[in-house]
């Protein structure tokens, strides 16, 4: 199955990928492909937009319409693509730094507008590409090359941030459970509007080493032992959720989708004055 998916959806001439052994990026890229395959989407109509970072390199390996943009700006590029051609299925892949630090402003506004796109955030709690600096998702007290004495920033809960800004669908999964990520991405794509799936990943090379998290296996076991399905989390007191990863579909709502609303404006006024023929 995996090799069939590789043949069908990957640009095999550009493999092997650049990621370190044990990196979570491949697992999440695989989940994206699996979700698209399950939904039987037309490859020619799928568009993958990414920013800059280790995670954003995923776009280049995938055999769709792919664009690797500038750091933090993937959502703004994606907004232009979707508005210009609403029939495209737009999927954004971005790192935690890309989406929540330099791209934070674009994240809240894309969520607020509810432009139809699916955002897959690969959260490895660190800046991987530039060598292990702390990100807005690095837990307080942990270490990065720019937090040699421990991080005193408070981290974002990226899914909650998106939901707070108006995202109509948010979900979370871990690389420990790729099937759950796949199912969340599938639901996100089917959802009409802006959906965000936060995928908790692992960067054993920088985050793992800097914070003495052990081997990749140890990091993934930690995810297993600290994940709580959202249904169960709802029944627990907040103290018991501290430091835990709540997984599953976290929020879902129905708001008007941006390109559909704009289409209504066009319909209303395009019959009007036509300066071109006046």
């Amino acid at each position: 199955m995996a090799s069939q998916l590789v043949e069908k959806y990957m640009r095999t001439e550009h493999l092997p990928h650049i990621w370190c052994p044990g990196c979570g990026n491949g697992v999440i890229m695989h989940a994206v492909v699996r979700a698209i395959d399950k939904l039987e989407l037309d490859k020619n109509k799928v568009c993958i937009v990414s920013g800059i970072g280790c995670s954003s390199r995923a776009a280049g390996y995938l055999d769709f319409n792919t664009i690797h943009t500038t750091h933090g700006r993937a959502l703004a590029f994606a907004t232009g693509i979707k508005l210009a051609k609403p029939e495209l299925e737009v999927v954004v892949i971005a790192g935690d730094g890309d989406i929540a630090a330099i791209g934070g402003n674009h994240l809240i506004h894309a969520a607020r507008r509810n432009v139809g796109m699916t955002v897959v955030v690969i959260n490895n709690n660190i800046y991987g590409m530039t060598g292990g600096q702390y990100s807005p998702a690095t837990p307080a007290g942990e270490f990065g090359t720019t937090a040699p004495y421990g991080n005193i920033d408070r981290p974002f809960d990226i899914a909650a941030l998106a939901a707070g800004a108006g995202a109509s669908f948010t979900a979370r999964g871990t690389v420990y459970n790729p099937a759950q990520i796949t199912s969340c991405i599938q639901k996100g794509i089917l959802h009409k509007g802006f959906s965000l799936i936060e995928c908790i990943s692992v960067c054993p090379v920088y985050y793992g080493r800097k914070n003495k998290k052990g081997s990749v296996i140890d990091m993934i076991k930690w995810q297993r032992d600290n994940s709580i399905p959202v249904e169960k989390a709802g029944k627990l007191p907040p103290e018991e959720l501290k430091g835990k990863i709540v997984t599953g579909v976290l929020s879902q709502a129905t708001y008007p989708e941006y390109t559909e609303e704009y289409a209504k404006i066009i319909e209303k006024v395009s019959g009007g004055i036509n300066y071109e023929q006046a």
């Binding site: 943009t69 703004a76 590029f77 232009g80 051609k85 004055i273």
Partner: protein, 374 residues
């Protein structure tokens, strides 16, 4: 039949762009470019196009590139500080060869400056604002009616060479209102594309006889990769020095080898001139008035106007400088294009600069003084 209408420069910019097929605009309000966004918001849905007010200028530039990648002729407009914010993504469009037009209605001063005052202080930024060696085309209109026709040329060049084109307006032209004739026929150039997956995943392979890539827009069956990293013909990133050299050299030569097609200038009264005034954009009006005045006094003075600021019209200015005794460069800044003029003119004739940075217009009297002085 052509028709006569009263228009503001900023409005002419939008109407010209729509006439040649611009159907996507993303922007963020800033004086003195704001009317461009406002007209686009009003007009684009009427012609089944899209307008969006983004959260900032960085996002606007990104959205414009995105829409162009999807095959729609796209534009953004800004001034001063907003132009600075767009620079990173302008470089992206340049490197990834995505056509788009960026209007900068220049305003005065660095930082927030004098927001409502005229200036031409972004001439060098328009050429070198984004990092790294990159090609760019910059056009400057000097009247409302030229704004209409030149924005069409901006799109034509952008589509033909697959490069961002900076439409460098200034407050004077942007806010000027005058009667213009809307031409009946306009020439429209659309980007060349090969359809339906025929690039075989080699979007940046340039077919014989073409000056730019011919990949089809996203969604039309040609699945390829676009990146701002140095890339090979497949559009995939590479660290190869050979590929890096090949890509940058090709990008630069795309413009260099076609300067004769790209460069446009206007000369007036230069046939018998001893003196010429080099000017562009909104400053041109004062210059023409000063020239009339000087000519009535028997001074043989003409005007040389680069319509294409970048690439700079070297050949044309060099030729003129061999025929005149004195060149006066009049621009609304501390001295920017004068540096290019010095480089080109060398010792062919003497060179004088008249500039201004106080936010007021350069008056015909000031230019006349420069003409009459030795």
């Amino acid at each position: 039949m052509s028709r006569l209408v009263l228009m503001q420069g900023n409005e002419a910019c939008v109407e010209g762009a729509i006439a040649c097929g611009m159907r996507f605009f993303a922007g963020y309000p800033i004086t003195p470019s704001t009317e461009i966004a406002e007209y686009c918001a009003l007009r684009l849905p009427m012609v089944k196009g899209h307008f969006i007010q983004m959260e900032d200028e960085i996002a606007s530039m990104a959205a414009v590139i995105g829409a162009s990648v999807a095959g729609v002729k796209s534009m953004t407009a800004t001034s001063g500080p907003g132009f600075s914010l767009k620079q990173e993504n302008i470089g992206y469009a340049s490197a990834a060869e995505i056509p788009c037009v960026i209007v900068n209605a220049q305003r005065s001063g660095p930082s927030t400056g004098l927001p409502t005052s005229p200036s031409q202080g972004d001439v060098m930024q328009s050429r070198w604002g984004t990092h790294g060696d990159h090609p760019i085309i910059v056009l400057s209109p000097s009247s409302v009616s030229e704004t209409y026709t030149l924005i069409i040329r901006a799109f034509n060049l952008s589509e033909k060479y697959r490069t961002p084109v900076i439409f460098l307006m200034d407050e004077m032209v942007g806010h000027l209102r005058e009667g213009i004739e809307i031409p009946e026929h306009i020439e429209i150039v659309n980007r060349k594309v090969i359809k339906g997956g025929q690039s075989q995943h080699m979007p940046y392979r340039i077919p014989d006889g073409e000056c730019a890539p011919v990949f089809a827009p996203f969604g039309e069956g040609d699945r390829y990769n676009i990146t701002g990293l140095i890339h090979d013909e497949s559009g995939f990133p590479t660290n190869s020095h050979i590929e890096a050299n090949r890509m940058i050299t090709r990008l630069m030569r795309k413009i260099e080898d076609n300067v004769d097609d790209i460069v446009a200038t206007e000369e007036r009264y230069t046939e018998d001139a001893d003196i010429a005034v080099l000017c562009y954009g909104g400053t041109t009006r004062s210059v023409l008035e000063a020239i009339d005045e000087a000519r009535s006094k028997g001074i043989r003075v003409g005007m040389f106007r680069p319509i294409t600021l970048w690439p700079f019209p070297e050949k044309e200015l060099f030729k003129l400088s061999g025929k005149i005794k004195k060149l006066i460069v009049a621009e609304h800044n501390y001295g920017q294009i004068v540096l290019e003029a010095e480089r080109v003119v060398k010792n062919n004739c003497s060179l004088k600069f008249t500039g201004k940075v106080d936010g007021t217009l350069i008056s015909p009297a000031e230019i006349l003084r420069a003409i009459e002085e030795d």
